[in-house]
Symmetry: D3
Subunit: 303 residues, 6 copies
């Protein structure tokens, strides 16, 4: 069960209102790398987790991320506070209001017109939060790797936001939030490597014929190689013929069909066949204007 | 530039048509952990990458994932081939057709009715593919971690699909695709650790006051601890008071407002205040039926 | 700040696993009328709210809804628990596994194949949760009405789910969750009517010429009238002519254009004009087959 | 059946073109609180409604909202008319065109570049309209409450837009549209309260043990109470212990598992267990740079 | 302005309820090729259209499509009518109700549980309608082609639905709706070819060097050629070298950077460079289990 | 199988960085009419296609569109290159950085803050790419028409972008991409008309009673007619009565119900009936303020 205390996990002191900055901050409120995504990610994993240690870890961090959502949401609310009510109270003449609403140069007009200055569950482009941001699949070694990656992404977004504002209170609170992503990443790394073995993930072993092959699919000029495709670690396959039909087959796709299925498939194919021997007049030629009306004259060719 | 060869990277031999199985396979065609998501993820990273080795690595794997998308798409197409054309050619009487379309017990009816038996860009629930599946943020140490996690997720989904079918040709091709995710994960791991240091990600250092603190946010019964929150690695904070306002402030959110802003905020607050001293009649009471019409009689309380 | 206690707000006792039922329960976990939508709705309103009483109310209920999300998520997790691991551990032979995954007759295959049996943030159709479910606009009298409506919708969905299961433990927990929606609706009604006046919402008065007019837009047969369009309450306008251009103008749309704008608009119109005096041959006629090739013969007309 | 008359329901007179203002107006064309959402909401309810009076009411208002969609869409089209064709006709030199396209400071560039100056079905952030905006659930007392709330939201958005423009023709038409939302709200209120009883919604009674309890979930400092949680109306529960497991159980989640299910669950748990007794080296430590390579030295702690 | 008449454009006579069939019919109600998409497509084009003939045509057909939306929605409502109320009234015991809700084998459970048996704005997979279905771009020759294509798609979906049901009343009404798509396609074709020239669309001429070149990008085995790439119509380029950098350049991407920009780009590149000369230990190796702990031993290679 | 060559299909030479222009270019990278949509559209059609000529054509063009995606993505990357790293390296003081991030006047802030300057899979409004953009339905004559329309739309968007930039290298590369859309449209037209007959699409004939009728649904003032609704081509039906219930029935919707179904439907109707004879007090009246508290006094009426 959740309980709430009216004190924030970190005090938020904003110097002055700035709806444009508020709009950028929304990335960590309702954006793909933001705190709601983090909280929900860990909370849903916790519910489905049976390992008692990991379940506890996930719920601890989910709860902290909810508290961070409150901190970043409070920053957004404070940055918008001066603007809030301007439209509601008709505090200025219209042209002035229009200028202030559209003058920030980003999507802050959406916060004002659609959301009345409150913190909406959108990112800085105005896109509503989506469950598609959550990549949990219910396997602990995969999900912990997803969590590690998610924490590292969130750390970077906070770093960018910190570099964008000189307001000391905002900078300070963002610094706390950024730091906690680092701490969480350490915890998730420890939890991942406490599962042994955790690589390859899952239970089915890879096919030994293909697990240490590197296909050099992008060619041209010189290839700069590294440990990710070095001869120490991989068989490096550059020959285009050896990249195709690597099972030794003919590289085609086939399926067994029943007699009845064949009949239908054949009927469909026949009815919808494109004849290759004709050069039919087409809508494009009809559309080329009067001169070419009724003719299929070939346009000028290259050279 | 891309070029295409008509031979698949792996030969696809499907024993018999099975639209229901095809529907499940769509997870790796148009689903969040599928091959399009993988190909696009690495391709867009490659375009934005300046490090020549990583750029090459990303384009190599992006190109291979496109080739995998072709393999899994061919599996889907083969599994649907016998069903394709049934609706188009009206090959059976209607009741029989209705039964076969809805009888698979999953979302294969969507493939038949909306997509005509072709491989659609949806997952097994019929949800269209979304760019929101891509979590690239343009920082190499974060993106490589995202790639590592994505490969481990894709490996698991393939493992589940393999466990769902006894068709030897499908099993074989899925085994190849699963194995390649393992190989790609190894490459991305090598690329990540070739960046030194890569932790913490980014350039800004974490705040040392909070980088090694673990907040025990979920409490009750016994806490099972591990290296992810052990005393060796973290300062473990269980006291609820020490979890709040950890900066030493009062845990509130504040902002400086101009005189003009204060006026508007005050006017708005006054106009929309909820009076606490009244017990107004409400719509709920109006809706309780004749007996309570016009009264605000409190319903029965607990105890 | 949020804190978490390992005890649920309501004990969940599920008799036996049932992934199909779990899939239906997802409506209240990751569906539009579910607990996450409720929690986020009130939480974001609380952050933007300045009235101290309402802010407290909103945060109280937001926190309780998060606790309900945990309860319904635990029901989902328990109903899936027996199925979880089946694909991961390859516990049965493939054909049996395929049957059990697709046999529930709804979208539970998505939970198994994509989410590994954990509680995903989707509804019973497999659609990911969306921020578009949240209709908060930052005006208290409108938002409280939205909350009242949301509580009444959630009450109904719970009622439907209760009618779908005979498992006494599930029924009991759903009964609690359903009841709390009723209690929350009462609170939101009290908060709305504590704002006086709250109708019409907002500050701008309606135009008295149109505030009490009812346009009878759908006609035919007999109109059954009620207090929603009675003469006591409305001027009832049935005459089609009086429904148009009710401002007394000509019902057209016009705009003032600069000379430069007129030039461009005219050039565009001229270049893209459809000539009405011709009967051009079209792609449709080209596609009617050899017989009609080159002719624009009109098809048979009705009667 | 629908019929269309070329005269608008309200004459639209726009003084001069303004693509930036047009972009804001899109909120009521293709936005969540806009006229399409309203029309579709009532239209789909009407189709599913059996009560003859309500069915008529819903279709009347649905039809009027379609007519309003035409009015607001005409406003958008007029505001864009001067800009339309500029890109198509290449009417200015490129740098001038670029400046005018991006200079409005909001998302009007999307209307110009993607939609050619026509009125697109997006909101002011460029987000496509979504069926997720419609919250109809097929219960009349819930749906009527949703309609009441929707009308009150739409009224507010119109009010904000009115406060943003000084163009008398735009202001006038918006005033009409705003007023009609008020009239519709009155009708929906009358229809709701004509159902008696309508509270609680649905048929199943709430559990009397929990229907009049208020859980004080957010605590700290002073709680400002009102009729929404007063002793007259509710039992106010502040004790944290009394907020948990309110059914009197232990607050856990349990499920009965068959022997076979237990076997699988146990196997999965064992294979994926996180060992708590180790302090494994992790990727984070590998990434800390050469100095810490191969060690798991704990970073500096707080204090 | 729109007006509504209570008579449908086509009488709907359904023999008996069938929620499973209703679910399939949703494709043409709330699906991508359905009647709402059609109505909105033409309505928004009409609003932005200045050519008086086309504007009238578009509004005529938009209005008819709205009337078709009413017809298909009425079919859905009738097919669900017997099931509606079952959950609301608790008309059967729970197990029976569960069976009937999930037994249709498609997504009809969503209509029952979430939408209460009313016609929801979703497709047959339960995916909410999206503005992304509308591909209008505000150029008449492109939009008319989009309309022609849309009508042909809708015709096909109706044909599939007709082949799925033996109910004579449903078949009859679907036949009418299907036929009208054919009629509309004819009209849109006439309107397109009344613009002369309409090909190439737009105003800018294509580059004559590349307008009649066909790049043979997919090679292998035999290429079956037709008029779409014949020598009469195209220069056929198979040589891979001639497909690259066709402008005669080096096929690279370059940009001019200021000195300051170069400094930043260089700093970023240096900080995040992947060293190619090392073979670092990685997380994958840490995860391979105790045996390989601390070593980077290469796994077995192919052959 | 796909292969990649490091040389682009067209050389990209950008004069100087311009993140604002980059944002507009995203329309053809991750927008609905962009190159990914094109590539995926043809690729998925190719996989499901059995006609060997069309299959080859579709894969040829799909592969070329992927190569175009690389070209436009490279343009985006180059235009952003100077800005990339600015946030990561904290290259300027915060206020300057904030100004440059938000100063472009469109959504380029999203590229910088969320995507780190890399090319994201979004359109110029920041909306993630969606599978809903793909309208393939698996019927060749419909899909080829969709492809023709898609090529004509893409041609237009490129034309608009060309008109927006004076950078000769960007203009040149966009000119190539635009031209190729023209060439592809010609090929798809040839493929469509090689299927004879291809109109009406599909197999079921239209109902001759309704195939050549034009319903004049939008009336008022003068109707400007053209070949799309001329007497030569259509029976023109203006009489409103003849537009309704065109089957000769009563225009109602009916369904056969079993006795049991009737019982439930009746019970539901009775329980939820709106009484028409009352004028109940409503929430609106409660909300009008003290003066009207407890009364249902009708507001002032018009005139």
């Amino acid at each position: 069960m959740f309980a709430h205390n009216k004190r924030l996990q970190y005090t938020v002191r904003v110097s002055e209102t700035n709806p444009g900055l508020a709009n950028l901050m929304l990335e960590q409120f309702g954006g793909p790398q933001g705190e709601l995504a983090a909280a929900i990610r860990y909370f849903t994993q916790a519910l489905g987790e049976d390992d008692p240690g990991r379940k506890d870890l996930l719920m601890d961090i989910a709860t902290e991320e909810l508290s961070h959502l409150e901190v970043i949401g409070t920053i957004v609310a404070m940055l918008n506070k001066g603007a809030k009510g301007r439209l509601a109270e008709a505090a200025e003449e219209e042209a002035e209001m229009y200028r202030s609403i559209t003058g920030a140069g980003n999507d802050s007009h959406v916060t004002q017109v659609l959301y009345g200055g409150g913190p909406p569950l959108i990112n800085s482009a105005g896109v509503p939060w989506s469950g598609a941001y959550i990549d949990t699949i219910g396997d602990p070694s995969a999900d912990l790797r997803s969590n590690i990656a998610a924490e590292s992404r969130a750390k970077i977004i906070y770093e960018r936001l910190i570099n964008l504002t000189a307001d000391p209170g905002v900078k300070d609170a963002l610094g706390f939030l950024m730091t906690r992503e680092v701490a969480h990443q350490i915890s998730f790394e420890k939890a991942l490597y406490s599962i042994q073995p955790n690589f390859p993930p899952g239970k089915l072993p890879p096919d030994p014929r293909f697990a240490r092959v590197y296909f050099d699919m992008s060619q041209g000029e010189v290839d700069l190689r590294g440990p990710w495709n070095s001869d120490e670690n991989f068989e490096f396959v550059s020959n285009r013929d050896e990249q195709q039909a690597v099972d030794g087959g003919d590289g085609s796709g086939t399926v067994g069909l029943s007699a009845k299925e064949k009949t239908v498939v054949t009927a469909l194919a026949k009815r919808t066949a494109s004849e290759t021997g004709l050069d039919p007049m087409t809508g494009a030629e009809l559309g080329m204007g009067e001169a070419s009306q009724g003719t299929a004259a070939a346009p000028k060719k290259r050279k």
